[in-house]
């Protein structure tokens, strides 16, 4: 089944709405001196808006999930998505951990290691 005109229009309208929603959210946040909505709310809602738009475009523009069995397109997308999550979440986690460990001066680090019995 190829894309119908309805799917393209729906995908376009949905994406415009989701984009404008993000724009309004950020504009409001900046106008209220970054106090309202809160930073956490911003981060989560922007990510959610992006993921929803991702699926809207993947399904309505790129035809994800439309393949008959075996669903190779869907499976490879899920696999790529898994790799992406590992790369992004893994990098953020590791670098955050490194930054935390590197917070102190070398003398402080040495003192800490002596305390913990590692040296």
């Amino acid at each position: 089944m190829k894309n119908t005109k309805t799917m393209y229009i729906a995908g376009y309208v949905a994406s415009v709405i989701l984009t404008l929603a993000a724009y309004v959210l950020v504009s409001t946040h900046v106008a209220h001196h970054h106090l309202y909505p809160t930073d956490t709310f911003m981060r989560y809602s922007l990510m959610i808006l992006a993921v929803v738009q991702l699926f809207a475009q993947m399904v309505l523009f790129l035809g994800l999930g439309r393949d008959k069995k075996p669903r190779w397109n869907t499976y490879t997308f899920i696999f790529a998505g898994t790799i992406v999550l590992i790369i992004v979440i893994g990098s953020l986690w590791i670098m955050s951990n490194l930054n935390y460990r590197m917070m102190y001066s070398p003398e402080q680090i040495n003192r800490y290691l002596h305390q913990e019995g590692d040296l």
Binding site: N3, T19, A50, Q57, F61, V88
Partner: protein, 195 residues
């Protein structure tokens, strides 16, 4: 025993699937660039951060232009399946112009930043920004070259099976670029501006 038509159909499915897998690997490439940007976004080396550098209205314009071009590309595909050669040329032409406008705006932004001294050499943040957004821009450029080529091929040879297959892959590529832009728009610009 498969008929000739069935074999051709299967081969086309395989080609399209192969292109889809390529797009999946491109997603992984962009993911690594995104991860790098996410890690380095606050490493401004005393220089300006996203909030100070990015203009939300400018970015919205870029985004809506690229989004519209994704839609017009879809319209071209619909015309292609209806074997409407002239409509295909028109819709592809509009898609091309919108893509060119997007690229122009982006190059303008890059030039403006570099001219003010905020080049990729100023900080890790800017380094990762230019790499991520620049790679996307490079993909757009290649897509535009491909689009120009396809417009020429369709004009010369019409909407034969080969051109239809190639147009399908081009439209997949173009939609994919807009998908990546969703995240550049969100992670780089929206999250950067909201701080």
């Amino acid at each position: 025993m498969s008929t000739n038509a069935e074999i051709k159909e299967q081969n086309e499915q395989k080609t399209l699937f192969g292109f889809w897998v390529y797009l999946m690997t491109d997603i992984v490439l962009f993911a690594s660039l995104f991860a790098t940007f996410a890690v380095l976004r606050n490493n401004t080396f005393g220089g300006p951060n996203g909030e100070e550098l990015f203009n939300i209205n400018f970015v919205l314009a870029e985004t809506l232009i690229l989004l519209t071009s994704s839609f017009t590309c879809g319209a071209a595909m619909l015309a292609a399946h209806d074997k409407q050669k002239k409509e295909v040329m028109i819709w592809l032409g509009i898609t091309f112009l919108l893509g060119l406008a997007f690229l122009g705006l982006e190059i303008n932004e890059f030039h403006h930043l570099a001219a003010e001294g905020h080049s990729w050499r100023q900080s890790a943040f800017l380094s990762s920004f230019f790499t991520l957004v620049g790679t996307h821009g490079a993909h757009i450029t290649v897509g535009l070259i491909w689009m120009g080529t396809m417009m020429y091929r369709v004009y010369q040879a019409g909407l034969n099976a080969m051109n239809l297959k190639r147009l399908t892959m081009l439209s997949m590529f173009w939609h994919f670029l807009d998908v990546i832009w969703i995240f550049i728009f969100t992670v780089v610009y929206m999250m950067g501006i909201s701080g």
